[in-house]
Symmetry: C2
Subunit: 544 residues, 2 copies
Amino acid sequence: MTDRLIQTMRPRFLALFIALFLALLGASSALAQTTYEDILSASEHPENWVTYSGQYTSQRFSRLDQITQKNAKNLELKWVRQFDTLNYMETSPIVVDGIMYVTQANNLVHALDAHTGLTFWTYTYPLPRRLTLCCLRQNRGVAILGDRLFMGTLDAHLVALDSKTGTPLWNVEVADRLGGYSITGAPLVVKDMVIIGVSGGEYGIRGFIDAYDAATGERRWRRYTIPGEGEIGNETWEGDSWKTGGAPAWMTGSFDPELNLLYMGTGNPGPDWNGEVREGDNLYSDSLLALDVDTGELKWHFQFTPHDVHDWDACQVPVLVDMEFGGRPRKLVLFGNRNAFYYTLDRVTGEFLVGKPFAKQTWAEGLDEKGRPIRLPNTFPSEQGTVVSPHVQGGANWWSPSYSPQTELFYLMAFDASTKFFVGEAEYGEGELFVGSFPEISAPDDSFVSAVRAIDPRTGDRVWEHQVYARSTSGILSTAGGIVFGGTKQGNFFALDDKTGKELWRRSTGGKIHAAPVTYAVGGKQRVSIASGHAIFTFGLAEK
Amino acid sequence: MTDRLIQTMRPRFLALFIALFLALLGASSALAQTTYEDILSASEHPENWVTYSGQYTSQRFSRLDQITQKNAKNLELKWVRQFDTLNYMETSPIVVDGIMYVTQANNLVHALDAHTGLTFWTYTYPLPRRLTLCCLRQNRGVAILGDRLFMGTLDAHLVALDSKTGTPLWNVEVADRLGGYSITGAPLVVKDMVIIGVSGGEYGIRGFIDAYDAATGERRWRRYTIPGEGEIGNETWEGDSWKTGGAPAWMTGSFDPELNLLYMGTGNPGPDWNGEVREGDNLYSDSLLALDVDTGELKWHFQFTPHDVHDWDACQVPVLVDMEFGGRPRKLVLFGNRNAFYYTLDRVTGEFLVGKPFAKQTWAEGLDEKGRPIRLPNTFPSEQGTVVSPHVQGGANWWSPSYSPQTELFYLMAFDASTKFFVGEAEYGEGELFVGSFPEISAPDDSFVSAVRAIDPRTGDRVWEHQVYARSTSGILSTAGGIVFGGTKQGNFFALDDKTGKELWRRSTGGKIHAAPVTYAVGGKQRVSIASGHAIFTFGLAEK
């Protein structure tokens, strides 16, 4: 089916054609179907992008190598798909056999032809009027299993859609939206389950991570991120503060099939910017959790920021890497934390191995031998305001990092900035904002530095950086072609040399890039797509 | 100032730099200034695009020839600028010395760096809440004179802005918005005047064309498009129907400096789709008017559709051409009318020379020797509905046509479609919708044919057509490189061979193209820009 043919076919015929095509192939192949095995072996099938971070390791690395350091300058626009929305897009596309699934703010799902950007179908989730959202009406993407797509919604539901038609199959309430819960992250499919956490760290929720049966929507298990009365860790919360302690789990996790462990970060303790009413470490806020994926049982945890008063969620995607470390092969997890420290942990035990600042920070003298921060005095929010680095948005944030097994480097978007933090009273009311104050950005964004930084996981040292103007909140993608892709708030989408950070190519997309790029192939040709502003852009090599 | 430098400079320094740069050059050159002489000689300075249709002739033809039939396949995206709007854009950019001025729905104006798409300034016109609009909240662009920009507004004002800063300089009420008036078209600057007409054909207005002093905003003259009591033509309106007879003038006109004549089309008589209350020809609705540009005096008129009951406004841009015709050089005006007939008129006298259908029509047997349509029976709206071609949106519409002096062909976007027209009562109320019925689109848009058609002005014959899928409502641009540019509703922007209509290049912009392309040069390189969806796209040749 040539480009020309697709472009000139009437949509109804095109849909029919595709349906027939899928039906014919359905019996003998996995076309437009994604099995658990497909996700397990995602690295070996780089023509698809089957899960939020590309693979269960969340390396967001692709073995595709048609686009190289040498020919990246020949990248050109293949297609754009604009959407009718005033929100900018945070979605990371899923691509299966030439069909791209993207979400839009307010929980729309679009199935697009990855070859042309034309729409096969659009699904609009019926959102209720009243929502309790800390931030924007965003969504970061779907998960896929078989011929089903899964999306978390702003009213804290989880829905399953038929991937061929967009027809809703089931819809379960994950939590009560009026209690302050919402969902913005992309689910993670593991085995026959859909894993999803909740947002609501500014609304006095008690965070949790759930697993649902992909076929029926029935809940398999729930793991609260704050231990209940009598459980170990509950004593790290003053009085009843654990009941409204936040610690959401709003980003997508990673999975190690051999260890059978799910890794997910947790968000800030509540109330935000006021720790006085919740003395203690506030476990397991701002932590990385390792859970038995079949039961949700907690195997280990590592808390990055005990008793956080700066809103430094551990909302990063954990990156799983097997590498030689200290003279022997180890199973590691890499984490570029919002508190401006980079960490390498043993992912079997949670043991702290490496920790070093990767962005400007003025709040800790360093980390102790267990990885616990040694706080500097006078860094807590105060009545007159305390200027601290990193920024309230962090030295990094949910913007996906990447790891290239070719360079053995960890890449992330870093932000050297500061914020003025104030102290204030917080009063809990169900479904009401539960924060102690509002921080004040201490200078315009463009007076700070954003940079892609390459970090050696063995030492935490910076190998290179590529500064970008102005600020960037983009995710990173690395490829076997030796390229690191990223974007900027100003709308530039760029390709860097993965060994040096040197810019190889750049193109303006004219909208804020606040999403992570993905790569895949259609018709045997490598493509790179990224959400920017109100649109999806797809680039590939020029063919002359 | 290299791309790199611009990209990395902080906006405040960049603004300062540009201000200084302009100040330094201001004394000795016309940089970012546009004189009347610049508009008169626009064809000879194709690096700029200084007026809505490129030149006073409205040929929308550029002498730029870097992009050729041979290299058009190497066109690539140079930049995009996305805007925060749910409306799609209808703007046609003005480009002066590397600065692009575009308007957005709801009367925003943006000054962009034509090299990068980055914003220098944005002006937001303070619209009142209540507006009387037939259609969408659109605007089609600004006009420029000196260092002033002029924009008509949805509340029927005309504003002047400082082109360097976006600061408003004056603001005059053209008409009372509560009386049904609005402005969506781009003004035309002639000499030291700003010419603007009004919209409101569905609101029982009495249309007019105004000229304002560019320096002060003072009105120089007004020409009502419907003759008043005692004036010739008033007898073509039954009773008092002339008072609410519509005949707006909502698109931009053309100008012949030698004849000192302004040419502007007029819109439908009101009430729309009901002629029973306004028996007669309803002059000068659906007409082309030739006015003395200094006084607004009517020199001649040509009415395309007497007593229109189908909403076939003569809203096209008149295209002025000097060519050999009938064995002698003649001053002509070419008009691809919404009623599906193409016309060649003598523009000195208004004499009818050629008239032939260019799109599907079922309402007229043909035109008589004076160019008056010979109506077929049973084509008027009826109670049960009458299916007639062209479509209520016309065989063409305001979508700008183009004429290439190289091929001597007239290019327009044609639409072969039909609509079911109903009759109904219309009651006038000030500022209320004044229509007899609402037509019913008889079939989905994609069951009709849209095509770029090339017409020989000497015969009205079709030389070639290029069908596009799906429907298109795009304007046309032709260039000395032998190219005809246009777009589609599906978002494809394309380049055709101007002699054959063969497609040379196409790229998806992912949004509805409902605007006209322009071409210009920055840093000596030819660029082509077009508004699509919620963005401006700029293409140029790949540089390797």
